[in-house]
């Protein structure tokens, strides 16, 4: 049994500071174990979110040694323990207390995205038919655990604070999952371009790098969506064809 030092940010809306906590570490421990141990023995009021402790719920997001991580999936053996381990809250969201941030903006954004609207059922019993290969991509996006680490690291949100103009990678992936769902019939392209600000993403792929579910957010999700926007709004043939379709329908 050896001891390691954790430099944990303590504070609230009005400010705070890093405080050092020395705690015993044992084989196989993750950062969340250390934080929970410190909470139980030295700082009962240390605020942090966690639930499943298995990388499935996306609650314990924080920045560990400056990297956005799920605390429950970051093993101490991956970190240099001869130096203090810094643990601080996500920076893209306002701090509530200690490691807990106000992520309510994400829930408000999601509510504004047009909901799933399936085509009429394929079979008389009210069911649909889909081939596995046609849903593989959507299932990749639906692995998202809403940890918001991609939002945390996205410079449009983190540095430029464009919360009113840009929905961030998490919700671009959500829109992609809906748009690429074989049964869905709603059209979200106009909002993507305007209210949801897909144009602000300049494909630096930071989101993809931090995704704990290894979702190819940029390549598989955002880029194809950008192409759809381009097809709809900037391709003259596409534009003309849409105009014709509209006329015919009208």
């Amino acid at each position: 049994m050896s001891t390691a030092v954790f430099k944990i940010w303590r504070g609230d809306r009005s400010g705070g500071e890093f405080r050092d906590y020395a705690t015993e570490v044992s084989e196989g421990m993750v950062v969340l174990d250390a934080v929970n141990q410190i909470q139980a023995t030295q700082a009962n009021d240390l605020a942090c979110r966690w639930n499943c402790k298995a990388g499935k719920c996306g609650s314990c997001s924080a920045e560990v040694n400056g990297m956005p991580k799920l605390m429950c999936m970051t093993r101490l053996s991956e970190l240099p323990l001869e130096k203090p381990v810094t643990v601080e809250p996500m920076k893209a969201f306002p701090v509530l207390k200690d490691l807990v941030t106000d992520v309510s903006w994400n829930f408000r954004v999601k509510k504004k995205i047009k909901k799933f609207k399936p085509r009429p059922p394929d079979a008389p019993d009210g069911t649909w038919r889909m081939q596995q290969q046609d849903i593989d991509r959507v299932q990749e996006f639906r692995k998202c655990i809403e940890c918001f680490l991609c939002q945390d690291v996205c410079h449009v949100l983190r540095d430029h604070r464009m919360y009113e103009k840009f929905i961030g990678p998490r919700f671009l992936i959500h829109v992609a999952a809906l748009e690429m769902h074989p049964l869905d019939t709603a059209d979200r392209i106009e909002e993507l371009r305007n209210a949801q600000g897909i144009g602000y993403c300049n494909i630096t792929k930071c989101c993809t790098k931090v995704c704990p579910e290894s979702i190819e957010i940029t390549d598989n999700g955002i880029i194809p969506l950008k192409e759809r926007v381009v097809d709809d709004f900037y391709d003259p043939f596409g534009w003309f064809w849409k105009w014709v379709k509209k006329k015919l329908k009208g």
Binding site: N44, C52, A54, K56, C57
Partner: protein
């Protein structure tokens, strides 16, 4: 009296996992206003951890499946102390509830002809679990969440309910606090649905998160409802055992459904050594047949690894106790062996069990496509809970409903894997429907402010003794006692001593002290949750003492056999007028002939 922030809803739902969300959707679809209280953020509830799938007799993979087979499987798994009516409704309605999820955007894995794929699971005769790899719970909660938020449900995130409010004999709301500022709140409602999940945190080794402190069980008990069959706690046979920090984290039964085998340190498939009588005709008697079953051979019987969870857990305990366990006190669960059978085994495992692959790789440095896992039993689920009307989900307290894990009846003495997610959907919907109906027929009641003030003072008491006892320490002591004395193997002496400890813990709860202020203070939350944990721990222990037999998940070494007389009763815990906890036995409701016939046919 103090002023409290007050919210009014027709229906208040406490808990936002599968059952709570499904109830909220149903109630709001019925046209009433709905408030949904979650202890954590929306979408983080324990349902998200469910891996294997949703049991429903869709018959997409095996056309012989139907509600009758599902019903008979559920009753057999529950050792026939299940509420027959709930088991019937569940088996009949689960397929519609699954199809509905698809209409709301869920993307299940597919069969070759494009329908919802179903997988094998313990105790289910045919492949029955609709699933998405091994992250079915995430798919379910996300689908319900995304559908629900468009329905105008008011979601109150990170809030905890401390007590239910009554007007005479009727529940008329709830009192609680919000985590962010630590402020108290009153929720007034015409009907209240409890959907708070389980009690796993009463034990040291558990697959449950910090939230599962038996809140709904304790709230209902305090409000005058009965708790049914609290002795039946499911110890899931396969939790991680190493490294120590991940002990208890779940390893899905899907590993065994897809061909995984259990072996001891000698390499023996010990599950073949003990196949219970009532499963003998359904269980393979050789390894070859077991493998054929996992590969979809309809003429093969299922391997003994897929016997019910209570039995598999006990076999693992036996192997470990008799010195045949793995290095870290478990047994081996091996899926990598299938490379002998399948050319593309590695890819197959990663596709079928992606999060298990991920979990072991990241947390234990083990590549499950190459080497076996080490597993052992972990506290997973409580079959017991609030006694409810099987059709409406209302408890004996007017206006108080319960659904999902915190309600009881469907599972009897042991729950089959996959029956939980379907239970959440079927009875979550029913609770929402009947709570909405109740709300339409009743008006808002009166809240007794004096009682609220008392509850508020009680909740703040720990702040007045900053040098009091550490709540985490008490929680840990409680978990150790329950683990050691009211665990998988029980006896009267140990349980009586556990009761004595619980008595002392009740005294210690009064001496708890808190540091810091009311804003997002987990020490305070732990102190408040402890009362619920103590209530359920006492109920579990008293019910377990009352059932002097071994049945399903309850194994008593002092009464190692089933007792037919006790096979006809449920245990019932309730609060007496003097405040003490009472236990009694109640005869099972009589099963109608047409269902008896179904059970006979399926024997």
């Amino acid at each position: 009296m103090a002023e409290y922030e007050t919210h009014e809803h027709d229906v208040l739902i406490i808990g936002a996992g599968g059952a709570g969300l499904r109830a909220a959707i149903e109630a709001s679809a019925a046209g009433v206003s709905v408030g949904l209280v979650c202890k954590s953020l929306l979408g983080k509830a324990h349902t998200v951890m469910a891996e294997g799938g949703i049991a429903a007799a869709l018959a997409n993979v095996d056309e012989r499946d139907n509600w009758k087979v599902h019903f008979a499987d559920t009753m057999r798994g529950g050792q026939y102390v299940n509420n027959w009516r709930m088991a019937e409704l569940h088996a009949k309605e689960a397929p519609d509830r699954v199809r509905e999820l698809e209409a709301w955007g869920a993307v299940f894995d597919r069969t070759k002809d494009g329908r919802i794929l179903q997988r094998n699971f313990g105790g289910h005769k045919y492949p029955r679990l609709a699933h998405v790899g091994d992250r079915t719970g995430l798919e379910m909660i996300r689908t319900l969440q995304d559908h629900g938020v468009h329905q105008g449900i008011d979601v109150h995130m990170e809030q905890t309910i401390l007590s239910l409010l009554k007007d005479g004999e009727r529940v008329v709301g709830a009192f609680g606090y919000e985590r962010e500022r630590g402020r108290f709140k009153i929720f007034r409602a015409k009907a209240v649905v409890l959907a708070t999940g389980g009690i796993g945190r009463a034990y040291k080794i558990t697959s449950n998160s910090w939230e599962y402190t038996g809140d709904g069980h304790a709230l209902a008990y305090e409000a005058g409802a009965e708790l049914l069959d609290m002795e039946f706690i499911q110890f899931h046979p396969t939790g991680m055992v190493w490294p120590p920090s991940v002990m208890g984290i779940l390893v899905t039964e899907g590993v065994r459904g897809d061909g995984g085998i259990l072996t001891n340190k000698k390499g023996r498939r010990f599950m073949f050594d003990d196949i219970p009588e009532n499963y003998r005709t359904q269980t393979a008697d050789n390894e070859e047949e077991g493998w054929r079953y996992c590969q979809g051979d309809k003429n093969a019987r299922r391997p003994p690894e897929l016997l019910t969870r209570d039995h598999v857990s006990r076999c693992i305990v036996r192997e470990v106790k008799e010195g045949r366990g793995s290095p870290h006190g478990g047994v081996f669960l091996d899926i990598s062996w299938i490379k002998k059978k399948l050319p593309n085994a590695e890819e197959y495992i990663k596709r079928k069990l992606p999060s298990m692959y991920h979990q072991f790789k990241q947390l234990a440095d083990i590549d499950i496509t190459r080497e076996p896992m080490e597993v052992g039993p972990t506290t997973h689920y409580i079959m017991g809970g609030v006694r409810v009307d099987p059709d409406t989900q209302m408890s004996r307290v007017a206006g108080l409903f319960a659904a999902g894990e915190c309600a009881a009846g469907i599972n009897g003495a042991n729950r089959l894997g996959g029956n939980s997610l379907s239970d959440l959907l079927v009875f979550g919907k029913r609770a929402g429907e009947f709570a909405a109906k109740f709300a339409k027929e009743n008006s808002l009641g009166n809240v007794d402010n004096a009682k609220v003030d008392v509850a508020a003072r009680e909740a703040l008491a720990p702040f007045e003794q900053s040098r009091g006892e550490n709540p985490y320490e008490l929680q840990q002591n409680l978990q150790e006692i329950m683990q050691d004395s009211v665990g998988i193997v029980r006896n009267e002496t140990e349980m009586k001593s556990a009761l004595e400890h619980l008595g002392k813990f009740w005294q210690r709860v009064k001496r708890l002290g808190i540091t810091g202020n009311r804003e997002f203070n987990p020490g305070w939350h732990t102190a408040l949750d402890l009362k619920n944990l103590l209530t359920v721990s006492e109920a579990i222990t008293r019910a377990a003492l009352e059932r002097k037999e071994s049945r399903g998940a309850q194994f008593r070494e002092d009464y190692p056999n089933k007792d037919d007389a006790l096979g006809n009763v449920n245990t019932m815990v309730s609060k007496a007028a003097d405040g003490s906890m009472q236990v009694r036995r109640e005869p099972l409701p009589e099963m109608p002939d047409y269902l008896k016939q179904v059970i006979d046919e399926m024997k």
